[in-house]
Symmetry: C2
Subunit: 258 residues, 2 copies
């Protein structure tokens, strides 16, 4: 294979698959996409249909509605797609895969920040004000945001370092990969668990005893929860499946004018 071709695509034998593997891969990826997009669609439907949509500080109750939508968008859909893309991009150049992985995670940042401001505003502007950071949901949110920020900073700097001095840092970056991947999966799982405690809180606070009568809204909330649980299972299976991992090669760029 000519060198110019090899430098753009990796069609090496180690990573080639049988037909059955491709079928499983495509099935799991499709299911993951449906569940990740489905979570966002369901949370939007819930908020628009049963919680009267969005507003900013002029209506704190409606401003709160930004919180679940943006947190699901940031922590589940964008982060999920980012991790999915990292595994899907098997035959693309790794630098592009890493670039899109970073971009999707970067898209999650404003969602998380605005989602966090929305719930703070809702608490502080309500009459009487609601206390902040007392529930286990908020404590879990702190741990999740902390892990996400740490992962983002480590990932971003190792990616920047890659752009500046690729060869000199290859060993260091390679040793970071499994730790970054493990904590990435754990952050996603924790984000799902935090969403589920938040949904429980909202369902019990808003619906109270009516929750047990399984009205439409209760079914939508539970369906959203099940979609999140499904995302965690499918993404976990996809990310932990040995065969789906790209058996990485450290790319050493060839400095020639060929």
């Amino acid at each position: 294979m000519p060198l110019w071709f090899r430098r753009h695509r990796n069609y090496d034998e180690d990573n080639s698959w049988a037909c059955g593997n491709w079928f499983e891969f495509l099935l799991v990826v499709s299911l993951a996409i449906v569940l990740l997009v489905g979570s966002l669609v369901l949370v939007l439907f819930w908020v628009m249909q049963y919680r009267e949509g969005f507003a900013w500080t002029e209506n704190p109750a409606k401003e709160f509605n930004l919180h679940p939508v943006l947190m699901v968008a940031g922590f589940i859909t964008f982060s999920g797609f980012s991790m999915l893309l990292y595994r899907i991009g098997r035959c693309c150049r790794r630098i592009y895969v890493k670039l899109f992985h970073t971009i999707f995670h970067a898209l999650a940042v404003p969602c998380v920040v605005v989602g966090f401001i929305a719930v703070l505003d809702y608490h502080n502007l309500s009459q009487p004000p609601i206390r902040n950071f007392y529930s286990l949901h908020s404590w879990m949110g702190f741990v999740t945001m902390g892990l996400f920020a740490l992962q983002f900073v480590v990932g971003f700097f190792s990616f920047l370092i890659l752009l500046c001095c690729e060869n000199a840092t290859a060993g260091c970056r390679a040793s970071l990969v499994p730790i970054h991947a493990t904590f990435g999966i754990l952050t996603f799982m924790l984000a799902v668990a935090t969403c589920l405690t938040g949904l429980t809180e909202k369902a019990v606070f808003s619906l109270g005893n009516y929750y047990s009568y399984m009205m439409d809204e209760a079914i939508v909330i539970n369906a959203l929860a099940m979609t999140l649980v499904g995302s965690a299972i499918v993404m976990g299976y996809f990310l932990l499946r040995e065969g789906f991992r790209y058996s990485g090669h450290i790319l050493v760029s060839v400095q020639s004018e060929m």
Copy 2:
């Protein structure tokens, strides 16, 4: 090394570690043990100190208290120890490791069954009765129990088959291992998430608006939740860390009288 010695212990070079690895391994294992036992101690302390301890059907409110304690004992402490043991037993014969893995999971079964009966009794015997299976916590509980049962049955039969016809089933059992391990980790994560939604429900239903005043009980519930989150992170790191995995060899028994 004489054969009689090799048949009892595996001191092969592939699985020998440097001092730093042992330090990390022991640190993570110690932390995991503290968190797994800590969860059980905290849930027991919460129930005995703030929820008036246990009873059976004569007092449904106290019977409910069996539910969180037994579910944490079964799904977190016993299951966690079972998975921990599977990784810790690096230099023991694999058959003994598998036996203890099965025994610890088997200990979880009566806990889960009695914990499930306790919450059903509490709902049905309360005046007026509380409806069953409406909350997202109960739906998640079903998924977790289903996955746990599936994993137990698959694990148990592959272990039984191992005892009956070791060599003939080696390939089949080896291909099951990564799937069993992945779903084992996912079941543990889902169990933690289910516990967290259950704690949120109980905190909001029992403490109501007082939850936000951070009384002693609220702090104990949140501390228990954080211990569960810590267990998920530490167990996840421990189980996903490539270096901690035993790079398994399929044991083929030697049929000789040596």
